[in-house]
Subunit: 171 residues, 2 copies
């Protein structure tokens, strides 16, 4: 069930940027775009996210696989992960957390609901702005299979012609 | 952000099995295994899930791509989808909803929390039993890219040796 693309989450709190690896997240609705994200007290980013209510979700390509694992295996409490992993950051537009240049895409997010945090560590985020980096050669994302094994996107199956055009029914 | 594996969800309500295609879901925690699933009033299965508080999540392989799309593009209100799509079902052990034989794996689920349903159509499910069908030749899952386009699992990257063994720290 797991393999949504593995993502990086940046925060900015008390003058300090941080980044973590996240595997438990989902789209909840398209409009406005809401994302569910599980970030727990065991994550150093948890405090920053709770305080600032802002983050950026970066979607890394398969070329960043090693970094994604290593970022997830150390804590921002001890080190500056942007420095350690030589991640170039760029300023976001609507949130304090930085964009990660090496990612295929970055999504600026604001926390809109924390009522599920105490029970499930589940934050409801609204995606307020998305950046795509078409310059990244590697466009395949990584899907975590558990314990450091990933599946990379493979071939594409295009079944668009089978989709009922729901919009036409609405109009 | 979307492409968790696309899944099928079965329900059994008032003597009638049904199946739908679901794209918005996530793992919330491992132990006990909780799954978040977005199923809305626009889905015919919504009523069955609310009443019975049980379902099965089937994980189809890439060989079922056309069926997955077609199942998602019609409603169980009008037809018996198991018949129409020639899906062989098998009885579950702990829930009334049936298993789908053609899937790579099936997960029996019980609804454990409906507090997020009114606002987000988000059901919290507990996975109570999982069935794996290793006899399925096609083990690659499908990841929806939107509008009927899917990415199939590609090659595997094994970075297990980079994973910190968290358990050792706990012991």
């Amino acid at each position: 069930m797991e393999p949504s693309p593995i993502v990086l989450v940046t925060t900015y709190h008390r003058g300090k940027p941080n980044v973590m690896t996240m595997g438990f997240h989902m789209m909840i609705q398209h409009d406005p775009p809401l994302i569910g994200a599980v970030i727990g007290p065991w994550d150093y980013s948890y405090k920053a996210l709770k305080s600032t209510r802002e983050c950026v979700i970066g979607i890394p390509g398969a070329d960043l696989a090693e970094k994604v694992v290593d970022i997830g295996n150390c804590s921002g409490e001890d080190i500056d992960k942007f420095k350690k992993f030589r991640l170039t950051s760029r300023p976001s537009q609507d949130v304090g957390a930085p964009l990660i240049e090496a990612c295929i895409a970055n999504i600026e997010c604001k926390v809109v609901d924390t009522r599920m945090v105490s029970r499930y560590n589940l934050f409801i985020l609204e995606a307020v702005r998305a950046w795509v980096n078409p310059g990244r050669k590697e466009q395949r994302t990584l899907h975590h299979q558990g314990n450091g094994t990933f599946k990379v996107d493979g071939k594409i199956i295009d079944l668009r012609e089978r989709m009922v055009k729901w919009r036409e029914f609405v109009d």
